[in-house]
Amino acid sequence: MAFYKELLTLCAFEEDEIADQKQRIERTFEILGLGPEDMERAIERINKFYAVELLGVRKALGIWFKELFDLVLAKEEGKNVIYFGYPPPLLIGYIIKYATKPGNDYYVGCPEAVLCQVLGQLFDKLNPVLEAGEALGFPPGHGMCSMLQNRNGALDMGILPVPDLAIGVSYYCDMGPKADELMSHRHGNDVEYLDNSMDSPWGTWPDYDPEKIKFMAAQINKLFKSLKNKFGIEITDEVYEKGNESIMQYFMAVYGLNHHISADPCPLSLADAQLILNLGVGSTGVTIDEGFEAVQILTKEVEKRVEEGYGVVPKGAPRVLIYLPSFVDPAFNNLLNEVGLAVPITAALLPPPETPPPYPFTTIAEKLAERMMYSGVFHSAYGAIKFFAEGLKSTKVDGVIFNYQHNCRPCVCRSKLSKDYLDKETGLPMLLLEMDFYDNRNYSASSLQTRLEAFAEMLLAKKAEANKGIV
């Protein structure tokens, strides 16, 4: 039996699918240096961290593997390769992918997210990649997150195809484009920048300087022009509308799933939820085609759990909102449940405020730029916090875990502001946690666990005190 068969079967691959894909699978694992021992470790980790009894979870795992194969083999399979940086311009990525769907001859995605999830969370083998990134000038402690380390490191190790075009994004963090510049210097690929600056005065969101939209729209149009000239890809109104529809369909399904997750007792672990959530972030390929189905299957399974009263934590457990499910390690995500916290929702799924965006832009590029601005997080610290605070008010939770990338300067600068502001606006207890996207090298697991447990103990005690009970 092929050494990877057990693993892929666990991840909902069909027998003939494995046979059909034999060459692709073996070539991918060869490039990544993944052998039988790695498969065993991944199986062990998957069984330990994920609810593999749920077909939806297994399907999601399978999609991640397919994303990995498509990514690693893209060039060898004669595809054009387009990368975008992190945090990804999702909608733009989806729309490009949609435009190129007919020929199926493009890879469009965010490779660092795929590596983080599969090589990191599933195989626990991202460290050599991060170290290769460090060796390029992204050492730890230099304000470089592991997302920046891992793409450049992987390219230097030769385990990722060199893209035909990289879309550098600076609307949130100014470092992605520098990492892209380093990449194009070393590998000679083209880069197009999607620039904007996450700078608006405190208190202004949802208003902003329309000049920013015009600038970013010009950047997006430049990208569209380059896509046309270089690849013949045309972003027409129809492509925009249809692409948009297909993504909205996916995300509405995720919202629907989340609705069930917010039951009491909480029926799905954060590790499982994260698998699905990050699919939308990390990829634009297989997710569009197969992700929707996986979410639907999982939703049915979760519905059933709710009907049966099944919970990953006891009914009545303190409910927390987490800012971002961790990329670090599924162990961290599960830890939240282990210490007795229900995690019904993440910030990514908070409902948008009811105020509409203030300016009626009409072109595709302007509409895309405005949607990003309106999301708050790319507007300003205030925009991000305010959006979060408004969403929190509509959500019944007992506390908030604000976990932030300790090397991410937008996050860091916002962390303390957030705690102060949210404290004032909502009065909810908030735990600040420093993390990185993938960095099991730099956190002390036992100290993390103590903090989470203590937070759970505190929330339980507060609930008991509120009910005039005694612990």
């Binding site: 300790h406 303390k416 705690k419 207890p429 600040l432 946690l433 420093e434 730099n442 956190y443 036992s446 100290s447 103590t450 903090r451 447990e453 203590a454 103990e457 505190m458 005690a461 507060k462 005190e465 005694i470 612990v471």
Partner: protein, 261 residues
């Protein structure tokens, strides 16, 4: 068996020392501290046994046992585990019901805890990625100057002009020490500087929670009178240190155990 059922124990296994407290209703009938050594499991058994021996008790006499501290999950005989953060709040609350803030500095981490009215955690902060404000930091510094960790606090009180120890990283603070030493600076001033710098770091961290009266200082480092002094200076209010500050976590665990029976 009425008597027996009121006897409970708290066991606190820290990175540096293991502590046990045996409680009969509200009375501490025995407590003990030993170094943790290489095996946390053995340390837990050993400190429990030695504490029981003090009063001629056996494990069967204890009706409920709660483990806390860094090694809490390795205490196989415990009925339950609770974090040291809750335990320090509980322990301090029993000894000083009006206390609102705990500064707990242990071997590997430091915490500032707000105590709620009922003696639970109201809020807390714990050092994240940096060990500069922990007992380990003091230990390394003591070793650099060939000094006993138990003496450096009182030595520091004799420093009339604390050196400015500016490095925030343990490793670099160490090389700064070596330089000051080479420059002929007195041990007193160097230790005063170290304690002052460390107190500052803990207070910066604790400001997220705030320091409300009364403030109690617990954990092994609380026996260091230099640290108490410099913390008082930085916080700007009196800080109380219980008689045996290192057993407060174990005491808190025992109190929770008592409430379970």
């Amino acid at each position: 068996m009425a008597l027996k059922s009121k006897i409970v124990a708290g066991i606190d296994i820290g990175a540096a020392t293991a502590k046990a407290v045996i409680l009969n209703e509200s009375k501490i009938i025995a407590s003990h501290v030993i170094p943790t050594g290489e095996s946390v499991k053995k340390a837990a058994e050993s400190v429990m046994k030695q504490t029981l021996d003090k009063e001629g008790l056996s494990m069967n006499d204890i009706s409920y046992k709660i483990a806390t501290g860094y090694g809490r999950r390795a205490v196989s005989f415990a009925d339950e585990v609770i974090t040291e953060i809750s335990c320090h709040a509980k322990g301090v609350n029993m000894l000083m019901p009006d206390a609102q803030t705990v500064i707990d500095i242990g071997g590997q981490d430091s915490k500032v805890i707000e105590i709620s009215k009922d003696g639970n955690i109201g809020n807390f902060v714990m050092n994240d990625k940096c060990a500069a404000g922990t007992g380990r930091f003091l230990e390394v510094m003591a070793r650099v100057l060939d000094s006993n960790i138990n003496e450096i606090g009182s030595i520091s009180l004799n420093g009339n002009e604390p050196c400015q120890i500016s490095n925030t990283c343990t490793v670099f603070a160490e090389s700064e020490m070596v330089t000051l030493r080479a420059e002929g600076e007195t041990r007193e001033n160097i230790f005063a500087g170290i304690h002052s710098a460390m107190a500052h770091r803990v207070v910066i961290m604790g400001n997220t929670v705030g320091f409300k009266k009364s403030v109690v200082f617990t954990g092994g480092v609380a026996r260091n009178i230099g640290m108490k002094k410099f913390l008082q200076e930085r916080v700007g209010m009196e800080i109380f240190v219980p008689e045996k500050p290192q057993i407060i976590g174990a005491l808190g665990a025992a109190i929770v155990a008592r409430n379970k029976i």
